[in-house]
């Protein structure tokens, strides 16, 4: 019996060893010095969130967030290693110390800040109302009697549905995807649409895309760089570095490149 157990134990130990060899290397670096002495910065990104993170024609990650990560590596003097995560995988990547930082449209919320720490915001994006230039819309009251399109289940859906409840007469049309929504806007099936503030980039590609403009902001979300809870050494360096990136105009230039407009005012904490 004992020999059987011993054999099983040895087998198990061997199995665990083999398994651990298969697991990705763990980014155990804690401080800025650790990252520099290890010689690489490990960053979690998402490549399904254009224009912030996506794959270019050569299937290489690119976008606003990816360039921010590369600039962070440059400032530290180390190459950047990317780990691709999905949006629900961002917090676990930090909790399990697989990455040093998350740079992936990581909206700053108090609920998330219980588990991880955020840098000051480096970017912001607004849910906005977009409509033809010829339509006079300044606020929610002007939407009464109009058809407003949005994508089912998005942040805009929640915000505009609530607005329609308090302002009867707003007709909400929900589409299954963003391309249908843009199509409805371009073909005039809706009078206005709710979407991200980068929506104009996509509308401009349409036949009469220049006829549309952003009317007003529903809500602004601010993106921070996520680090492991309590990693103040790294977080403080990131905040300082972001301060220089903001003041020398680098972040605004990146925003113009990928979002076709400057960043909103970024409050700090």
């Amino acid at each position: 019996m004992r020999t059987f157990l011993g054999g099983a134990g040895a087998l198990l130990a061997g199995f665990v060893l083999a398994l651990s060899a298969l697991l990705p290397s763990i980014a155990t670096a804690q401080s800025v010095e650790d990252i520099i002495s290890r010689g690489k910065l490990v960053v979690a990104i998402d490549t399904t969130t254009p224009p912030y993170g996506f794959l270019d024609a050569n299937l290489k990650p690119t976008g606003f967030d990816i360039e921010v990560a590369n600039k962070m590596g440059e400032a530290l003097g180390v190459p950047v290693e990317f780990v691709t995560v999905t949006s629900p995988g961002r917090i676990p990547a930090l909790l399990t110390k697989q990455v040093d930082a998350v740079i992936s449209i990581f909206s700053i919320t108090p609920a998330r800040a219980i588990q991880i720490d955020y840098s000051i915001p480096y970017a912001g994006q607004s849910a906005v109302v977009i409509a033809p230039k010829s339509t006079g819309i300044k606020g929610v009251a002007d939407l009464v009697g109009k058809k407003v399109g949005l994508t089912r289940g998005t942040g805009e859906d929640g915000l505009l549905t609530k607005a329609a409840e308090t302002n009867p007469g707003i007709e909400i049309l929900r589409f299954d995807d963003y391309s249908s929504l843009l199509q409805a806007m371009v073909s005039g099936q809706i009078d206005a649409m709710g979407g991200g503030d980068y929506g104009e980039i996509y509308l401009k590609k349409a036949q009469n895309g220049d006829a549309f403009e952003q009317k007003y902001v529903l809500k602004t979300f601010y993106f921070g760089i996520g680090v492991a809870k309590g990693n103040d050494n790294l977080r403080q360096w990131i905040n300082t570095w972001l301060f220089t990136m903001k003041t020398d105009g680098t972040l605004d230039a990146l925003s113009m490149k990928y979002r076709n407009q400057p960043l909103p005012v970024l409050p700090v904490f």
């Binding site: 089912r152 005039g188 099936q189």
Partner: protein, 221 residues
């Protein structure tokens, strides 16, 4: 993963689902009505019309039967406005669904018409019946009687076909269900509930079509 089904958060929104059901019934009923009318005209035109009409109907049937319903919906809703025809979501859905069913109904009725033996028409001619009365009483009614089971099966498919018109923002049962999924994140429960609603609806429709068939196509002796 452990899953506990919770229907409570969905059932409080039952009124929304019922409003969706109402729209589904409306879309199905209107499109079956118009689609059948298109089918009757199409089948008669294809079999008895002048050659150009016969070809035009054949082209329509082929065009519709060889393209997906979803694309037809997109075309009516998103593309027609570029030519100046702007239809609301519900109108566009009824138009696309009617045109869709019309093509299938044309083909089903034509099959019935072609199955009418030549001798039956010759007998009617020798009795001195007018062309209109021959087409109506000697050809169309017996043809419709023969293909009525296939036709009502197509009607059932039509009812279920309404479930994709949420793509052009018509708020029928499935679209309402998808809204609820996004609000409650209880997809399993929502889809179970609407599956039951669809089942009951289709069963009721089947009974209705069977009853209507008995009423319309009694053998008169």
């Amino acid at each position: 993963m452990q899953t506990a089904l919770q229907f409570g958060p969905i059932l409080v929104h039952l009124d929304l689902l019922l409003r969706g059901l109402e729209k589904t019934i409306q879309l199905a009923a209107l499109s079956i009505l118009f689609g059948t009318a298109i089918g009757i005209l199409g089948a008669v035109g294809r079999s008895f019309g002048p050659r150009f009409l016969s070809w035009a109907v054949a082209a329509y049937v082929e065009l519709i039967r060889n393209t997906p319903l979803l694309i037809q919906l997109y075309f009516v809703f998103f593309s027609l406005p570029l030519f100046g025809f702007k239809l609301s979501s519900n109108m566009a859905a009824v138009v696309a669904l009617s045109i869709h069913l019309g093509a299938y109904a044309t083909e089903i009725l034509r099959a019935g018409i072609e199955a009418i033996p030549e001798g039956q028409i010759e007998a009617a001619k020798s009795l001195g019946l007018s062309r209109y009365r021959i087409i109506r009483h000697v050809v169309l009614v017996p043809a419709a009687r023969a293909v009525y089971p296939s036709l009502s099966a197509q009607f059932i498919l039509q009812i279920m076909g309404t479930s994709i018109v949420g793509a052009i923002a018509a708020e029928e049962l499935t679209a309402v269900a998808n809204n609820l999924v996004m609000q409650t994140f209880r997809s399993f429960e929502v889809y179970i509930i609407i599956a039951i609603i669809y089942f009951v609806l289709v069963q009721a429709a089947s009974l209705l079509f069977a009853g209507l068939g008995k009423l319309m196509f009694r053998w008169k002796v």
